[in-house]
């Protein structure tokens, strides 16, 4: 089965590991992600000012181009891209003013027909967790994993319509199927501080500390996410936290697709485990 795919800017640069393990894992499961022939940045944030239509044009163009391909779907894995594409699509479908204005910019006649879909949904709803279990080359054997969703995947619930806005479980269901032991902790949909890392690093440091301690206190050996910015904040900030506190114990922060790829037997180099600040290799490859 083929599904049109929008990688997004970060997946072609700092988050190649997310891109390659998403494509590789889904290919091993029989789903080929077909990259859109032309694409731009999605805009990264959904404009919350009602009169800011220009902030939606990039995403609208991506969606309109996806509608020209076969499949009726558009897959994207970065939480920011998924958030923006899904909300812009919702606006085009449900808001006649947005539909009219955006189509005027695009010189198109796109009505929001595309279904934006996340690889977590592809795994659960299209491939099926039982089918994934059958294709595993190895299991995670009780590895204690905390799933971190952050904010963009799940909220606001009405528009995102992606699992529960404060207690989603789709990532836990997948990771359990891979043999991991799920760590329940209260921080999984709190915000890591996001782009505030550029403006006020102390905010991000504080939020990351709360999330990490919340997960570590319950025994997490690794944290997984689908967002390159969450991954960066949670991963890099541990270097700062370790500088301030000698007793700080680091926890590797991975993309969920890296664990999926590992269990499906993707070649080690394509997992790109060496590109994180906290090295996950002793935990994953030593085990």
């Amino acid at each position: 089965m083929k599904i049109p795919y929008f990688p997004g800017c970060t997946l072609h640069s700092k988050a190649r590991g997310l891109d390659e393990t998403t494509r590789g894992s889904l290919a091993a499961l029989g789903v080929e992600l077909v990259e859109l022939p032309e694409w731009t940045c999605c805009g990264t944030v959904f404009p919350l000012a009602q009169d800011n239509y220009i902030g939606m044009v990039a995403a609208a163009r991506i969606l309109a181009n996806a509608a020209k391909m076969e499949g009726g779907k558009l897959a994207t894995v970065c939480s920011f891209c998924y958030h923006v594409l899904k909300r812009v699509n919702y606006a085009i479908k449900n808001n006649s003013e947005a539909r009219k204005k955006l189509n005027d910019y695009l010189e198109e006649n796109y009505g929001g027909e595309i279904e934006t879909i996340h690889p977590l949904e592809i795994c659960k709803e299209i491939i099926g967790l039982d089918a994934i279990r059958e294709k595993l080359k190895r299991k995670l054997k009780g590895l204690k994993v905390a799933c971190y969703y952050g904010c963009m995947l799940v909220r606001p619930a009405a528009e995102m319509n992606f699992d529960h806005p404060e207690n989603p479980t789709i990532m836990e269901e997948l990771i359990s199927a891979l043999g991991a032991e799920v760590v329940e902790y209260p921080g999984k949909t709190t915000c890591c501080g996001s782009y505030q890392v550029l403006n006020d690093m102390s905010l991000v440091k504080q939020k990351v500390k709360e999330i990490l301690y919340s997960a570590s206190a319950r025994g997490a050996e690794a944290i997984i996410t689908s967002c390159p910015l969450c991954q960066f904040n949670l991963d890099w900030m541990q270097e700062k936290l370790a500088e301030e506190n000698n007793g700080f114990s680091k926890v590797p922060v991975l993309y969920f697709t890296q664990l999926l790829g590992l269990t499906l037997g993707l070649p080690e180099e394509s997992l790109r485990l060496g590109e994180h600040y906290v090295d996950p290799k002793p935990l994953l490859l030593g085990a």
């Binding site: 944030v45 904010c151 996001s194 782009y195 690093m201």
Partner: protein
Amino acid sequence: MIERIKEISGQNASICMQCGTCSASCTGRDLMDYPPRQVMRMIQLGNQNVLNLKSIWICSTCFICTARCPRGIDIARLMEALRVINLRKGREVLIAEKIPLEILTRVPQMALTSGFRKLSA
């Protein structure tokens, strides 16, 4: 000013009942000068100083306040309106030259695009 905020956000702050759920949930509350409940109160009272708060620039638009508001107010849209009114007058907080190099060279590209869209004019 109240009408302008309402127009840009599409939200009616006057239905806020001041319960404080937004403040209790807020990601950035510890670093804000006025937590979201007080920002809402200032909008209700038409206090122009609401445009000068540090809080509006600390908001990380995580939508936890929006998700939890028992009155169904999209508080994130109100915070955005306060930023947008400033940004359209050229008042911004994120200046490219002032971002520390150790961060600039390491952050994923999406952080730069989103940060500049939210915090730069």
